[in-house]
Symmetry: C2
């Protein structure tokens, strides 16, 4: 069973709790733990070491739109955080971008679509090939 690091701000908290009901994964929950206001950059940062060290198979970040979490996480070399709004995007995020964090917008997609994105992300492998050189270029800047 794979372990997933997860964090959400107050807007993403309810969806985080729903995803953590999926018992086919082990969850490493970095908060937040209520709908009280929080700062998404701090929550995003909390899972970065888990993902970069491979202690978790991948990370999941949730805020209202996913935009704030996506900016915050992609500041880090080696992180490839993909904001997805359907399972086709989750598939392409893994096959083309070797994404290691799935970012979801709790206020922009339904809970069912979020679950589909997660399941697709978790079961799809990187294609390598022509995409490998582009992944390397992401960390030369």
């Amino acid at each position: 069973m794979i372990t997933l690091a997860i964090a959400a701000d107050h807007a993403g908290f309810p969806l985080k709790q729903k995803l953590m009901n999926l018992d086919e994964y082990l969850w490493d929950d970095h908060g937040t733990h209520s709908t009280d206001p929080t700062d998404y950059p701090i929550l995003a940062r909390s899972i970065i070491p888990e993902v970069l060290s491979n202690r978790c198979a991948f990370g999941v970040l949730i805020c209202g739109t996913g935009i704030g979490m996506s900016i915050a996480a992609n500041r880090y070399k080696g992180i490839r955080a993909a904001l997805c709004f359907n399972s086709e995007m989750a598939y392409l995020a893994r096959t083309h971008n070797d994404a290691n964090i799935l970012v979801l917008g709790a206020r922009t997609i339904s809970d069912d679509v979020a679950v589909e994105c997660l399941k697709t992300f978790a079961t799809t492998s990187f294609e390598e090939g022509r995409h490998l050189g582009r992944i390397h270029l992401l960390d030369i800047y």
Copy 2:
């Protein structure tokens, strides 16, 4: 009239050409200039100095899903690149995240939705308030 820096990979090239037909903006076109394969990280990088120096009002980046461009651009301090799939997201990207690059997925949204996103992004201001502290936190990592 505001100037927008724009770049796209081969998948985003056709949409880039369509957006550049909108004559209410001046366009600073950083390529690509055909559908021949290109590397999105290099195209993303090309507009960063234009955005950070404020030589352009904001930037527009396009690839197949927007995911690669979003990862690449958000590597840079001061850049807040927002992958949007409808005009509500473009509105929130500006009001909440003070986004300075609009990222679009040419293969995931229609050309009409892309135009709506651009027009909303261009006419919406940052709300500041509670969002200001979070924006500052994005660049402390």
